[in-house]
């Protein structure tokens, strides 16, 4: 409709210019809505496929393969999984304990370290900052680290090995530090005059003021622990200490292992185990809490990215 107003070659401003611009905007909007929709669909489709496959009858999967929509709806996989959770339940317990302990301890230490490093009156803060930062530039590699944990710290097959190696991350310390340096120094100064010690200032004054950063970094740490499988791959062979993601990894790669796991948790030996749909159901159950919490925690991650995107 605006095209009828606009005449070619008219360079004037006002309603004519606006008409021309609306046409450009329309084109861009179409481009935007189409391509962004496409990208978003590509991002979500794999999840839908897993969900659909987990609800498909096993015989249909064997016959026709996984489909985007269940060829024949069935709850067999979930029924089996919830009836004989066995190992999966243990893995859930391990992951939850590791995530809770690791996040609480890691977050506290990250904040405490960051607080000291940003104290302007602390003479050696740059030296210590470099001491931490250098570890992101150079490392001894996998082997010495691995041997350190296995031979010297003797952590193989201990719950602690799933927590300790991921406890601190230099990047989080840097983000936390830059957040805390935005808290007015006068707070620390005046508390000191009132006779408060450094640790008390940190706990009673700085921690409450750092809540936004604590929430964001806490969630990053928690996500790291929840999704970790690598430390288990290297250090855990005791089945009772396997975290969820590693358990899922084992089950995906090993159908016999899955049968054994189902049988040992009480399923009847002769039972026909729907391995393919079960794999998908396990994936859903292992990811479930994240998918459920995701809509609520997503904004904290966005926040964290924008705090830390400039430097780091």
């Amino acid at each position: 409709m605006s095209a009828t107003i606009t005449t070619k070659g008219n360079t004037g401003s006002g309603p004519k210019g606006a008409g021309k611009k609306q046409y450009d905007r329309l084109l861009l909007s179409i481009l935007g809505y189409v391509s962004i929709s496409l990208l978003a669909i590509l991002c979500i489709i794999p999840f839908l496929m897993i969900i659909s496959s987990s609800f498909t009858e096993e015989s249909k999967i064997v016959e026709e393969g996984f489909q985007l929509f269940p060829a024949a709806f069935s709850l067999d996989a979930y029924e089996l999984l919830f009836k004989y959770p066995g190992q999966m339940l243990t893995a859930y317990g391990v992951t939850i304990s590791v995530t809770v302990l690791g996040t609480v301890a890691g977050l506290f230490l990250t904040a405490m370290t960051a607080y000291v490093l940003q104290r302007k009156d602390f003479k050696w803060r740059n030296k210590f900052s470099f001491f931490f930062f250098f570890t992101t530039l150079f490392s001894g590699g996998l082997v010495p680290w691995y041997l350190m944990i296995i031979n010297y710290l003797d952590l193989k097959d201990k719950l602690l090995v799933l927590i300790l190696p991921m406890l601190l991350n230099v990047f989080y310390i840097i983000v936390m530090k830059s957040f805390m340096s935005s808290i007015p120094e006068a707070i620390t100064e005046s508390a000191k005059i009132d006779g408060a010690g450094d640790f008390r200032i940190f706990i009673q004054l700085i921690m409450p003021l750092s809540k936004p950063a604590l929430a964001t970094i806490g969630l990053f740490i928690a996500l790291g622990y929840w999704n970790d499988w690598y430390n288990a791959l290297l250090f855990i062979s005791n089945e009772n200490l396997m975290p969820l993601q590693y358990y899922l990894y084992k089950m995906l790669g090993n159908m016999d292992g899955m049968r054994r796991a189902m049988v040992s948790s009480g399923a009847v030996v002769t039972m026909n185990i729907p391995t393919e749909s079960l794999k998908m159901a396990m994936t859903i159950v292992a990811t479930g809490p994240i998918l459920l919490a995701y809509p609520f925690i997503q904004r904290y991650f966005v926040q964290g990215l924008t705090i830390g995107s400039v430097k780091g």
Binding site: A40, L42, I61
Partner: protein, 306 residues
Amino acid sequence: MNRRGFLGDVRKYKTLLLMLAPAVLFFLLFAYVPMAGIVLAFKQFNYNGGIFGSPWNGWDNFRFFFESGNAWMVTRNTALYNIAFIIVNNALQIGAAILLFEAVGKWFRKLTQTVMFLPYFISWVVVGAIAYNLFNYDVGTLNSILTAVGLEPVDVYNTPSYWPFILVLVSAWKALGYGSVMYLAAITGIDTEMYEAAEIDGANIFQRILHITIPNLYPTVIILVLLAIGNIFRGDFGMFYNMVGNNGLLFSSTDVIDTFVFRSLTTSNEIGLSAAAGFYQSVLGFATILLANYAVRKYDKDHALF
């Protein structure tokens, strides 16, 4: 070096030093002591001797690593994959961020941003499960579709030549949301006065994007890309290991330094070789990150890492 002054400082900062102690201990144990373990690269490891007691064997581990041809293959794969990831991921993320900012409504932006961010939150194990769902020869969705339309099924897990494309796609898929949020933040920070001025001058929206939005993103892009280049010799172990695993058929096109080091350590138990390859990667990585930081420094001092 005033000794009394130093001790005085220690006393003065006693609490602060105690507060730092756990973190210092952590990095000593998990980073600095292992750094000393680099000597393993020049040793023939045995468990009785441990890191420091095993006998030296000079450059043998390195010689073996290089003469087997593995060194060149994994280095090439690591660098080429990272270059492809940097180009594809950044182009997609910048494009998506611009469209999210300029072209779509607020409600739609929030919704799609949430959806696109989702892959970032799942573990690589779950991504491995998705790949299995898609590419499995017998039951994979891809082959279900291909056979449904009368085409031959493809054997993805036996065909190395597909994997560069698959891995680039997977990487782009997982990083899209994260990266576009980051670039979106940079675009949101652009001074709106510039846009208003352009509007008065009669610029259309495409000219505006081309001449204002994109040039204003250059600093962010250059810094992020340079830092990514600094990590070009570090492979994403989680991704490669969960997508490919120990499938030797695919190694020619998928083996990166990190997976090679891991396998040498855990599967073939060649500790000296693994340490040598890890040391080689550390040195290479250290050199590139110094170079990248030097470049960032030249470009914009404020954004240099150090």
